[in-house]
Chain length 216, copies 2
DNA sequence: GTAGCGATGTATCGGGCCGATACATCGAGG
DNA sequence: CCTCGATGTATCGGCCCGATACATCGCTAC
């Protein structure tokens, strides 16, 4: 799961570990608070061994700081890595529908083609519906067997499930009618800068707006 | 975390692994779908080594089935185990406030004294408030930097945070005024059988209603 | 000036938990 | 008779986490 997220971020721009962690935290803030270094660095090593990314010492003509005494390793995605990213984005296994997996996939939906988006959204909905049914069963059948606090926990969980299903339903409707997301529970009035109409190409469009040096 | 849950369930009645897993699933359905055997059995082994539980082959005069060719190991909590359970219930570290940890603690609130309940509820609230502030920051500051889907994910997450804070607030209020939980978002009308007034003793009352054979 | 402090930065280690897998028994139905 | 699904115990590789260690930079305060 982390692999997908890292590849996705490195596709936007090369980065070093620390930066990557921060970006991960803001992009996936809902899913996991902050990725641990004990996860990040081994994963980066794995990705490097697999040939999906390369690491290089930051050249001195970098940003402002550092006279490059120690480290500052910059990670960059390779062609294989981009291919891998596209594969991971498109294929949906069972782990695509759990909380973490779904969150990561969703966070990169703007790089996913519509058919896959719909498939994932529907798979997730089914998953949550199953959890919901399980909770309803417990609440109606095993109610007397459980104490008041456990019951309250189940009720709260059921509530969350129902809300998420409604959210997913809305997103699915929007996808089918070709609209972009947002404008659901409008409490913020953020400009939503880019890609509001969202043409939606095939798969893995090579980014549009933000200028970045892919490779020289 | 699992340790607490297992000890808690075994305190009600001895069980074998399969049963334990099912009980775990219904009691913690909101938190984790179903515990893996790859987690359960090693944990049971650990608990046994630590002396918190004992395992014994089920005697033939058990329920109906099994002529006891192979296995059916029944796990039972020890005095040390009960002590350990009480310790884990009362002490609250940082992991007490993450999703899984809080859920497990909450599920055993009927065995927790009120002061501890309040401490945990408030710790959890603070945790969620921090997450909420982080999401608000991202939504207001980094909005233009993120695509519509990522933004929608954050909005949904923020919504969930706000709702959970409200839920916790309600629970805290109820605790302070001595009422039991429930009756919050009334959509079910389950009798709530036992302990609605809830006297709340010290800690670890030795079960009340359900008849069960602790040992023959 | 220099001493401390907080942010930046890279890296490892032990351990918890998961999914996949294997194996074994039992009752019910074709 | 024989398969199928529920019950049941157990291990293995692998992901991910928290704790920990170490090193540098820029700032403020003494």
């Amino acid at each position: 799961m982390l692999e997908l997220a890292i590849l996705g971020l490195l596709q936007e721009t090369p980065m070093h570990g620390y930066e990557l962690r921060k970006e991960l935290a803001t992009k996936l803030g809902t899913i996991r608070a902050a990725i641990s270094y004990g996860t990040l660095y081994p994963t980066l090593k794995r990705l490097k061994t697999a040939g999906f990314i390369t690491e290089s010492a930051s050249d001195p003509s970098m940003i402002p700081p550092m006279t490059s005494k120690r480290g500052r390793v910059v990670y960059k995605i390779t062609a294989d890595g981009k291919e891998r990213f596209a594969d991971l984005l498109a294929q949906a296994g069972p782990e695509t529908y759990d909380d973490a997996g779904f969150g990561v996939h969703f966070a990169f939906f703007s790089r996913t083609d519509r058919a896959t988006r719909l498939r994932i959204l529907e798979g997730r909905r089914r998953r949550i519906e199953e959890r919901r049914e399980g909770l309803r069963d417990v609440l109606s059948r095993a109610a007397g067997r459980l104490d008041a606090y456990t019951l309250e926990l189940q009720r709260h969980g059921l509530d969350a499930c129902e809300r998420e299903v409604r959210w997913l339903e809305e997103l699915i409707t929007n996808e089918r009618s070709g609209r972009a997301p947002a404008a659901s529970a409008g409490s913020f009035d953020i400009p939503t800068a880019e890609q509001s109409p969202e043409p939606v190409g095939g798969d893995a469009p090579p980014e549009k707006p933000r200028p970045h040096q892919d490779r020289p």
